[in-house]
Symmetry: none
Subunit: 226 residues, 2 copies
DNA sequence: GCGCGTGTGAACGCTTTGTGAACGGGTGTC
DNA sequence: GACACCCGTTCACAAAGCGTTCACACGCGC
């Protein structure tokens, strides 16, 4: 997931720690100029704006974000209890708000709720290893930014291997873990799938799946050698 | 203003007093039957559901409200801090939530925010994806400016898929989420509806709904790969 | 060099999905 | 009440996709 836009920079510890605890990457921005300068390639996935210490600046930031070429959704503002009565909904400057003091759980729940509403499936469940990324929700895979067109079994096998980098699996283990516990089939099936995976990974990354002679296969580098 | 639907009946004092203090009229309902029986002539303007003491019943009420002939917006649920981690956004059962203990000001601010978003949002609720647009208020659909003449189930299926672009759904999931929770029917039903949707979308856009072999269907492209 | 283990290409056959058509419940009309 | 129509569902068949298997080639280690 791309990092969230967080204003101001640095944000109060309760927010930065909360985001870290929940596993949301974030980037602090201190000015409107930073918004463009620090923007990730895929755009900001959302914003958290703290309006407690500097409400004027915070809502100006919201306004700027909303008026931008690319509407930045969703926007969560952090306010104090005293600010609640004055909260102005008319301008539609934010999608949700969180009242200080808040628990980390509430922050997480509100972000999950917002991401779900805006359709950006919350934190997509990813399996990543180096240049390789598997999106478990969309059943898509990519390496070095290039999409991989994998069949179902290829995807399942790669997912399993990439979930346990460095570990060696025998063909029998792979058959039982990937294909199913009661599967009864030839061990050569694994070989063929590994071969097709290597081909689709491309010559550059074919080495990601290594053959361990007389044992089985290993994904990625062993942890003991560089 | 017509009274808000409040569940359960009687609601906890913190809620009833809070609503009274803020000047919101409300009616307590204790069962799904009450929802129809006590409905104001202009319909419910919104609902506040307390999920603390009886979460099961509360979310069942949300489900009933959402599945009703007239979608009842907005829905605010009251939860305890412990319930936050388990909050399930996937079913889209509520529009906002408020964590106990809350101040009256927060309740008021959340209701104002919700009413502003749904009430005077002015713009009809749209689901859009590229050239496709669904108007949830008028049950109309269009692609590339061309109106689509969809049947009810076709519309519901397309709405659900387009609301979660990129995500893959199994036929079973689609049956339960689009057709209904207790639906028991053949999975091929989904196939046929997908086929008819593709036909009506036209050859140019038929690819919007992709088959993920051995898994299910996906609408549009995932976000994190282009 | 020999044997075992693995890579490779191709073919087979099952599973999954697409497709056309028919069935049947429900609703509105005459 | 009979009829026609719409639409969701189901069925049967066709087509495609994909996993599996086999036969053979290659290469490493003893």
């Amino acid at each position: 997931m791309e990092p969230l836009l967080v204003f101001p920079d640095p944000p109060p510890p309760v927010l930065s720690q909360g985001l870290d605890l929940c596993g949301y990457p974030w980037t602090g921005v201190g000015s409107e100029a930073d918004v463009e300068r620090l923007e990730p390639v895929d755009g900001w996935p959302g914003a958290v704006i703290v309006a407690v210490t500097d409400p004027e600046g915070a809502f100006a930031m919201c306004r700027s974000i909303r008026k931008g070429d690319i509407p930045l959704d969703p926007v969560l503002v952090i306010v104090s209890a005293e600010q609640l009565v004055d909260l102005d909904m008319r301008e539609d400057l934010f999608d949700d708000f969180c009242v200080l003091p808040f628990q980390t759980n509430e922050l997480d729940a509100r972000l999950r709720h917002l991401f779900h509403k805006t359709g950006r499936g919350a934190r997509p469940e990813l399996v990543e290893y180096g240049e390789l990324a598997l999106n478990l929700e969309t059943y898509q895979a990519a390496i070095s930014g290039r999409p991989l067109d994998l069949t179902y079994m290829e995807y399942e096998l790669l997912k399993f291997l990439a979930s346990h980098p460095g570990k060696v699996f025998t063909r029998e283990t792979l058959l039982s873990r990937v294909w199913g516990y009661e599967y009864y089939g030839g061990a050569r099936t694994v070989d063929v799938h590994v071969r097709r995976l290597r081909a689709k990974l491309g010559e550059e990354h074919a080495g990601l799946i290594q053959t361990v002679r007389s044992v089985g296969y290993r994904f990625g580098q062993s942890r003991w050698m560089s």
